[in-house]
Symmetry: C2
Subunit: 620 residues, 2 copies
């Protein structure tokens, strides 16, 4: 019988021997691999923390002690050990387990995540709450070496050192966040990874000092020297300087060693401690160990997804083409060279490609600095992560009207990743920013032309596109400019008008074709630009329609629909009834894009249904 | 004759002797003090960088070399030396000089600012552009010890160390950003400030090592020891570890010493360098030197402003009252204990008050952590700076529906600080976030009740209020809850309805009273809540009015007006004409609040004018 069957809660781990724990780790890996290669999800990051998770749950008492996982994509083992193993097969599916930590899901998830670099801030808040309430539990943040270089995590570490609260930060150091970690801090940390001699060096240094014939001053010097030597050979000193007690580094796949380090940290009487754990992403599954980037996040149907071209592919191919023609074009991505597909650009133009790490804020202002000196930076960023750089978009780019191009990938419903990753807001939060052009292509051919347009726009311009396969339209060989603020009518009809943006244009057209059978003849507009709107086109269409329907894969609050009604209102046409279709005022759960689009009536069938339900429109 | 009269550009500084420079610094201080105590503005920070600015302009050749001032509030001396001295008297006034750096204003301002921690990212972008274009100029970022702890600056330093670009970062270290700098990094830096013996220690350490009878291994050990000792006694090692060459620390008021350090950095052949300059905020003006916090930012009419109570005062007094009653209430501010007036809370409840430094992102998620453990955190933050934590508001607070209270100060038009500091967007960027309650009081009495309400709301709640004196209404002694989503009619009229939010309610009422004389009888609604809207009240009023006017001190795009029209549209009442008053789609220049509100018709007179200009409404 499987040992795992006996583990219904973390408490059940306490009595296991180290040998049993080793077996358990094997069983966990087997189940993880079997399940995640089927359901999709984050495989490599979870395989890397099997032993760490076991050790955490043996040394700490969850839910009394709070374990805060940064990002949360490495929490599958944690879920298996905290009563959610039976649901693992439902991972990331509609109604099933979330792929991240989630307060609603379990008392063992004290703080949810999805975006990187938040755990230390949250954990410090919890530790502060504990101290103010004179309670006694432990708070542990588990953060990767990629996420720890995010500015917010650095802010939190700085504050933790200042407050001196008891807080345990576990640095899960695998040298890869999603792609290999970049940055100077990574280099410091990697000194430890790469130099297996650190133990000897430490011991040797101590011996060296002890043998010095220095008399009375020896003791003081030795103390200094020991600290100093640690600083030279190991990155501990930086931690100790900012007020953390450093424990480690330890082999993250040796449960006993990890437990010992965690126990030391747990029992250390005061202040924050950092436990440095070295792990291997994808550990124990050779395909993942050898290619942790590919196995970072698996789609549910890997084989099919690999074969088909995505919007990201077309984006990157176009950037490559544009980069060949214009030496002023540079590409920037915050830690998404694979996700954005920009690796092909990196390969051909390594000097004009910048992966800045999980640092969205810096990515945008770095781009602004390049633009200020006449370059044309294209920042590839997911819609949900651009939220992290909202102020930089306003203050550094748009206020100065610098021509930075925001290539906003994963805009709209993202599917399995769920609430934290939806690109549900970008139209709303970008449309209110002066000087910014906001656009979305109806298909991949338009995407390439909009990119070409953006490079020539001489203003900041955002292009949002969905996470999905391309539509398969023919791609024009030659790129051309699309006049900024010009939409197009893709279908002429006499009854109603559907004004759609981006990914919703094709479903709207499909819906219009279906509506013919019930006697509704719809115009369909591809708006292309949310800002500036094609005033002439839209007012013309509006003047001929009985009813307007706007449709966007974005929140209906402050979104495309509200831009359209504001226009009608301003032009004295507010008596035309308008119906907004889009994402309602709620956080969108995880589930496949097809299911979620159907739920929100954001597919052809839903659009037909919505239109047929407009009172008085269809009289059958 | 003044030496300053001969300085029409930075080039004119090159031939001056050190003695003449000393005189020039005196003259600059005199002019600064005379001007800024009259115009208002940032005095102490500019007095602190007189010598540093002179040295920068002697060592570097602006505008060929790029000097990027972080925040930019310390750029007055820079402006005086770069052809803008004659306009200094127009500082921060409508049509006059900006109080910050501004690309539109001068070729000597290569990158504008206003918010903190952006300079290193921008400068790194420029340095990268220079290298890609094979050009040869210097890029210098000047950043304070407060701003450098902002996460974005840390991201940029990390990336700079990684890229190894030639870039000079000048750390202007005065131990105060606005308030004394907090955080563990500040403590490390202050070791240098506080320990005047660092020079001796460095020399002593070297001597000690050299005298060791260690034979062949000595040389290696010495090298290690020297580096290590620097790390112990000085903060250099942290910099050198992340790839910066460290120069300093130098006395920032000794021009020759600063010049020497800057020259060293300029002539260093490769990689980024950090020049550590120790300055005294308010230097040379004893009132400012003794109270740099007070003299950080002066209002144009200091005496009057001091006497009158502001919304910030009422906010802080209410928080104090609430804190006395409820031990779960904690206050958090990112570096604004004075601006937010929370110092009074800090004084009485030092354990429940947290100044986290210029770290807006961390402030919000730290609050979320506290809320997750049952506390009621109140985060006092300026509207413009909350943009920096947009993702944290969405991802860490609202997605988890944690009851964090956002006390949004300086919402609306802020006046003299101008474009970078306007609170023009918060209604728009907050209204689209699910779970968040968004409110604004019409006066200070309502502010206290809304705070009381927020503490009981059990959901995240934002309360925005303006930067200004209170209205002077009577303050209720007892606090009471205002039902969430309930507005009020403050004037009944039969012709039109003005639906106002927050700071615009009183001007709307005043306008309504004036409109009587031209025969327009207006209803005025105090909406109180942008979200949820008081549906019943608004629909009732709308059903009785011929025309609706919405008014908000916020962008009209995606703002309060669009929430109202969305409601009318949904309820089939979109045929009622609605006119939005608010901030148009542009960045609002600096100028007094009165002038700017008049410009945008956001005062009683402007509202009257707007209403009288609605076609067909008034038939006189």
């Amino acid at each position: 019988m499987k040992l795992l069957n006996g583990i219904d809660s973390p408490a059940a781990l306490k009595d296991l021997t180290q040998q049993q724990l080793g077996h358990l780790a094997e069983e966990i890996r087997e189940e993880l691999i079997a399940t995640v290669t089927r359901t999709g999800g984050h495989l490599a990051s979870n395989l890397g923390v099997v032993e760490l998770t076991l050790a955490l749950h043996r040394v700490f008492r969850s839910p009394r002690d709070k374990i805060v996982w940064d990002v949360g994509h490495q929490c599958y083992v944690h879920k298996m050990l905290t009563g959610r193993r039976q649901q693992l097969a439902t991972l990331r599916q509609y109604g099933g387990l979330s792929g991240y930590t989630c307060r609603d899901e379990s008392e063992h998830d004290p703080f949810g995540a999805g975006h990187a670099s938040t755990s230390v801030s949250a954990a410090l808040g919890m530790a502060t709450a504990r101290d103010l309430a004179s309670e006694h539990y432990h708070v542990v943040a588990v953060i990767g070496d990629g996420a720890i270089t995010g500015g917010m995590a650095l802010e939190a570490l700085n504050h933790a050192g200042h407050l001196g609260s008891r807080l345990i930060v576990v640095l899960n150091h695998n040298g890869m966040s999603i792609s290999p970690t970049v940055g100077a801090l990574a280099r410091i940390l990697n000194k430890v990874r790469l130099d297996h001699r650190y133990h000897q060096a430490k011991e040797g240094g101590r011996w060296l000092i002890k043998s010095l014939p220095m008399g009375d001053n020896l003791w003081q010097v030795e103390q200094q020297f020991e600290r100093a030597l640690k600083g030279l050979v190991m990155p501990t000193m930086v931690w100790e300087e900012i007020g953390f007690t450093y424990v480690g580094p330890v082999d993250g796949h040796n449960i006993a060693e990890v437990e010992e380090a965690l126990t030391q940290a747990r029992d250390y009487p005061r202040g924050p401690t950092l436990v440095h754990v070295i792990t291997t992403k994808g550990k124990g599954y050779s395909p993942a160990e050898n290619d942790a980037v590919h196995f970072h996040g698996l789609s549910a149907k890997t084989a099919k997804a690999e074969a088909a071209l995505t919007y990201s592919d077309v984006f990157a191919r176009t950037v490559l083409k544009l980069s060949r023609e214009d030496p002023k074009i540079v590409s920037i991505t915050p830690a998404m060279p694979e996700g954005s597909c920009l690796n092909i650009v990196k390969h051909e133009f390594p000097d004009r490609f910048f992966d800045v790490g999980i640092c969205e804020q810096h990515a945008i202002t770095f781009a602004a600095g390049l633009a200020a000196q006449g370059f044309k930076p294209i920042v590839a960023i997911y819609s949900t992560f651009l939220q992290r750089a909202f102020d930089q978009v306003i203050h550094d780019v748009c206020l100065q009207d610098l021509p930075v191009i925001f290539a906003i990938d994963r805009a709209g419903i993202v599917g399995d990743d769920g609430k934290t990753h939806q690109g549900a807001f970008d139209i709303s939060y970008l449309s209110m920013i002066p000087n910014l052009i906001v656009s979305a292509p109806k298909d991949e051919n338009e995407l390439q032309h909009l990119l070409y347009t953006a490079v020539r726009a001489e203003h900041p311009m955002a292009i949002r596109y969905p996470r999905c396969q391309v539509t398969g339209v023919e791609m024009d060989a030659a790129l051309h400019e699309i006049p900024v603020g010009k939409g197009e009518i893709v279908r002429e009809g006499k009854d109603i008008a559907i004004i759609a943006i981006g990914s919703m244009v094709m479903p709207a057209l499909e819906a219009a074709n279906e509506l013919v059978s019930v006697g509704v003849d719809a115009t369909v507009v591809n708006a292309r630009f949310v800002k500036p709107l094609d005033t002439e086109l839209i007012l013309g269409v509006a003047s001929r329609a009985r009813q307007l329907i706007t449709i966007e894969e974005n929140s209906v609050i402050g979104g495309f629909g509200s831009m359209i009604t504001a226009l009608l209102r301003k032009e004295g046409m507010s008596n035309l009834p308008v119906r907004y279709l889009g994402i309602p005022d709620e956080f969108v759960e995880h589930g496949s894009q097809a299911i979620m689009r159907a739920k929100y009536k954001l597919d052809a069938k839903g659009i037909v249904w919505e239109i047929l339900n407009i009172p008085g429109l269809v009289t059958v």
